[in-house]
């Protein structure tokens, strides 16, 4: 079974395939070869057992071969077991799929096989041992031993009988006759002895000196029963006689005859004075039938003993054969277990890996079925499922891309709206259907003095704050769902000023007409109202200047004329006139100055801006105070930011702004010779500049550690004709605000820490 996939697919985890071992032909050939070897070994062991092949060498060779095969199989079994146990252990350590199942399957097959195999080995070895023991049992031993003893005893008796005859005859024969070769003297005794034998032969020899110094045996005379004449081996008889003469002792032997019989011979020396002078040889025939039966008995006995000597090797052959069969069964069971486990688990494992790959998103995976059975059908079903998943995934992916695209668009629009709402000066508050605050833009937060913590809270509860209560009417209006919404102008009293808002409330309705919330839009119209007031004051100032300044000159001229006319008047009158005219002239001059200021405020020209270094302008302006502050207790300190960008300003007007602010601070502190502050600090005026890079604004800050301005008066400070000094026109800060405003900037006033006032002028950077 192979995993196949299209080129775009990511390769799934590969499962190695052992084609050689999985090839059925190889398996069939191996099994046939094994069976052939087994048959050959069975045949050989059978031959060895039946005695047809009883060669010890062959038994040894067979035993060697069987042992070698046993050891090879045992080594192979141990190797296969060790290898697969190690493999199973590693697979289990790696938590590979089906490792436990494979291990259990192999263990089960081994357990099912080992017990009967070992039992078979034990039983077989016992049967073999008992069988071979029965082959060589005691009764068989005894029967064969007895038969052999009977035959052997017969031969022994014949030999002893013949030896007895030879010894008796050697003593009976006259040594002198023997030495002289006297046939007549010897023959009667030989015949007498022969007459007592069934089939025998008696020969006599005399000793003569030989060429080598050893005596030779010379035939004298012999007698026989006639039947032996043709079969007698004369040379063998001569050698036996010579051997007896030489050794001086009786010598016996057996001599097989061509007729099938066997001669039993004994040669006994004939002594005279202790010296062998001759020998007599007595021979007796054992018939062919007797010899054949005796030989048959002894051959059977010897054959039995030869086989018995191979008892150990035979048992070894059979035991080795049984051991080999047992090992073959074990190794076959092991291999079969592993093979079955692989055949069963491999398709399932492939499916599991395929499912894992599909789970990882590799939907182009396809598993090639190897078989057409149920597992093959399962694989096909898996492939169909993967294909359907691939199709569904494609559709889902397309839908996801569309949705993502729309989400991106919606998100971009939302960010755009949020940005607009955040940047606009108009405050926007959205309420939910339940009246909870859902969104609050920066302008609304700034105008109403709220922060993002109010989100999610009830608008009714939030607007219960004292300064925000005017907004409650708007909330009520949205609940009434008045068509076209509600538009109102609301004034919120803050702690230091009033905020004028143009507020609009609109109910948001859903597609089904049900209210889904409301939107409050708040526009800060305070600057507009303030501008309207300033414009009104400018008109008043222009009229005042026009209406008042015109009569002042005639009044002043008339007063001077009266003083000249009364210069010759009596001293009292003259003094009175001069006092009155001086007062008139002085007040007229004061009125002229007042009117000039109003005129200046009314006719203030537009700024002629140019790129200017604000720090240099500040320093140039502060140098004007050098003389005044040379011996003063009041200190003017400056902290100017380096690398301050240039600003486009009208230097004269901004210089006037700086002078006004410094003069006001100096006035607040009590003048150049002001005493120390109540907290022991020296009176200080601090001027600083800084750059707000984020907003592109250059700030000029003038502060003092004077008594400060009450919060309630701060909003009035910039109104014309308002002064806390009780003198002057009260137009200074109004002019300052107008100059700054016409430069596109703004001015604000606040508290210094720990005491004092801070004026902050913001100018746009160039």
């Amino acid at each position: 079974m192979l995993l196949r996939e299209t080129p775009i697919a990511v390769a799934p985890p590969a499962v190695p395939r052992r084609r050689t071992l999985d090839n059925p032909r190889v398996i069939v050939v191996a099994v046939c070869l094994l069976i052939g070897i087994l048959v050959g070994l069975v045949w050989l062991s059978g031959k060895a057992g039946t005695g047809e092949v009883l060669s010890p060498l062959l038994s040894d060779v067979l035993l060697y071969v069987l042992y070698a095969v046993d050891l090879t199989i045992l080594a192979a079994l141990l190797f296969v077991l060790a290898r697969n146990l190690l493999k199973l252990w590693v697979e289990r350590r790696r938590a590979e799929p089906f490792a436990r199942f494979r291990g259990k399957l192999v263990a089960a097959l081994l357990a099912m096989t080992i017990v009967p195999a070992v039992l078979m080995l034990i039983t077989g070895s016992e049967i073999i041992t008992n069988s071979t023991d029965r082959w060589f049992s005691a009764p068989v031993d005894e029967v064969l031993q007895s038969a052999k003893s009977i035959a052997n005893q017969y031969y022994v008796e014949r030999r002893e009988d013949v030896a007895l005859r030879a010894r008796r005859l050697s003593g009976a024969l006259n040594p002198g006759a023997v030495a002289n070769g006297d046939i007549a003297a010897l023959q009667p005794l030989l015949n007498a002895e022969l007459s007592t034998m069934a089939r025998g032969k008696v020969d006599s020899y005399r000793a003569v000196p030989g060429p080598s110094g050893q005596p030779d045996a010379v035939y004298i005379v012999g007698v026989d029963s006639g039947a032996l004449q043709r079969e007698t081996n004369t040379a063998a008889t001569d050698r036996l006689a010579a051997q007896a003469i030489t050794s001086g002792q009786p010598v016996s032997n057996f001599d097989a005859l061509d007729s099938g019989g066997e001669l039993v011979r004994t040669a006994a020396p004939i002594r005279r004075d202790g010296t062998a002078v001759g020998a007599v040889v007595v021979s007796e025939l054992i018939s062919a039938d007797v010899r054949a039966h005796a030989r048959l008995t002894t051959n059977a006995y010897e054959q039995y003993n030869a086989t018995k000597a191979l008892k150990g090797p035979l048992q070894g052959v059979y035991l080795a054969f049984f051991l080999m069969v047992t090992l073959l069964i074990l190794i076959s069971a092991t291999w079969l277990g592993l093979y079955l486990a692989k055949r069963i688990t491999r398709p399932v494992q492939m499916l599991a890996e395929g499912a894992r790959a599909i789970g990882a998103g590799k939907l182009d995976l396809r598993i090639e079925p190897e078989t057409g059975d149920e597992l093959g059908s399962l694989v096909e079903a898996f492939n169909m499922m993967a294909a359907e998943l691939r199709t569904s995934q494609s559709k889902l992916e397309q839908s996801r891309r569309d949705l993502q695209h729309k989400n991106v668009e919606v998100e971009a629009r939302r960010r755009y709206i949020e940005t607009v709402l955040e940047r606009v000066a108009t405050g926007v508050i959205s309420l939910g259907a339940a009246g909870d605050i859902q969104t609050l833009n920066g302008a609304a937060a700034r105008l109403l003095g709220l922060d993002q913590r109010v989100l999610g809270k009830s608008a009714d509860a939030i607007f219960q704050r004292e300064d925000l209560q005017p907004l409650l009417s708007l909330i009520e209006a949205t609940r009434r769902r008045e068509p076209g919404g509600v538009v109102e102008e609301i004034t919120l009293a803050r702690e230091d000023r009033e905020v004028h808002l143009a507020a609009a409330a609109t109910t948001v309705t859903g597609e089904d007409g049900r209210p889904e919330g409301a939107v409050l839009v708040l526009d800060d119209v305070t600057p507009l109202i303030r501008a309207q007031r300033v414009a009104a004051w400018r008109d008043v100032a222009r009229r005042l200047a026009h209406e008042i300044k015109n009569p002042l000159t005639p009044i002043q001229l008339s007063a001077e004329r009266l003083r000249r006319n009364f210069s010759s008047a009596p001293p009292n009158t003259k003094a009175l006139v001069e006092e009155c005219t001086d007062a008139i002239v002085t007040e007229v001059e004061a009125l002229k100055g007042l009117v000039d200021e109003f005129a200046q405020f009314a006719r203030l020209r537009g700024p002629r801006t140019m790129s200017t270094d604000l720090n240099r302008l500040v320093n140039d302006t502060l140098r004007l105070y050098g003389g005044v502050l040379q011996h003063a207790s009041l200190r003017v300190e400056s902290e100017l930011e380096k690398d301050l960008p240039a600003v486009r300003i009208d230097t004269e007007q901004i210089r006037q702004v700086i002078i006004n602010l410094v003069d006001n601070a100096m006035e607040a502190l009590g003048g150049p010779t002001a005493p120390s502050r109540p907290n022991g600090q020296a009176p200080v005026i601090a001027i600083s500049t800084n750059y707000d890079r984020r907003n592109g604004i250059v700030r000029l800050v003038v502060s003092d550690n004077g008594p400060g301005v009450p919060p309630a008066d701060r909003d009035k400070l910039f109104m014309p004709y308002y002064s806390t000094k009780g003198r002057g026109s009260g137009l200074g800060l109004a002019i300052v605000r107008r100059i700054v405003a016409e430069h596109g900037g703004g001015i604000d006033v606040g508290d210094a820490v720990p005491s004092g006032t801070v004026f902050t002028v913001e100018l746009p950077a160039a």
Partner: protein
């Protein structure tokens, strides 16, 4: 092996048979090495019992001329294989003894005397040892004789590396 099973089989495999000592006498003459040896203990009671049953008994002697080495295995310079075969005619009680060298019969004799037969099969005199190379003068050599009897007198299921007797004689080849 009566009543045996797997356990005796394993024990038999692990058994090590005792070996008989072979007295070896090296003989050097005319630059050739020959060996005379006698194995007085080789003909044991078991051997006698086997012979008495009429089963042919063969003593195979492997005579090796070897050069010892301290750092490597000893090297075999030459070798000869001789054998003594005895067969008792259980009918006539006559021993037929045959001696062979390299598979060729070199001597044969019969006797009814058991001691004579025993002396014949346990002793060899002046067995010439053909060598594969010229012997190095004044070098140390040794003769090793190993005896294997067939049929195996002490059966073991472990057929490899069994000797029924062994002997060794060191000498210096002086020429």
């Amino acid at each position: 092996m009566k009543g045996t099973g797997i356990l005796p089989l394993v024990l038999a495999i692990a058994a090590v048979a005792a070996t008989a000592d072979i007295k070896v006498t090296p003989l050097v003459a005319d630059g050739h090495v020959s060996a005379s040896f006698i194995a007085p203990d080789a003909f044991t009671r078991d051997t006698r019992d086997v012979v008495k049953t009429g089963v042919p008994l063969t003593f195979n002697y492997l005579v090796e001329l070897r050069r010892p080495s301290l750092i490597w295995w000893d090297r075999t310079v030459g070798s000869a294989t001789v054998a003594a075969l005895v067969k008792l005619d259980t009918l006539t009680s006559v021993y037929q003894v045959t001696k062979q060298q390299e598979g060729r019969v070199t001597w044969s004799q019969t006797t009814s005397n058991e001691e004579e037969m025993q002396s014949w099969i346990t002793a060899f005199d002046r067995v010439a040892i053909p060598v594969n190379e010229a012997l190095e003068p004044n070098a140390d050599y040794y003769l090793r004789v190993r005896l294997q009897a067939r049929p195996h007198l002490k059966f073991s299921l472990w057929p490899w590396g069994r000797d029924d007797g062994a002997g060794r004689a060191d000498f210096t080849f002086i020429r």
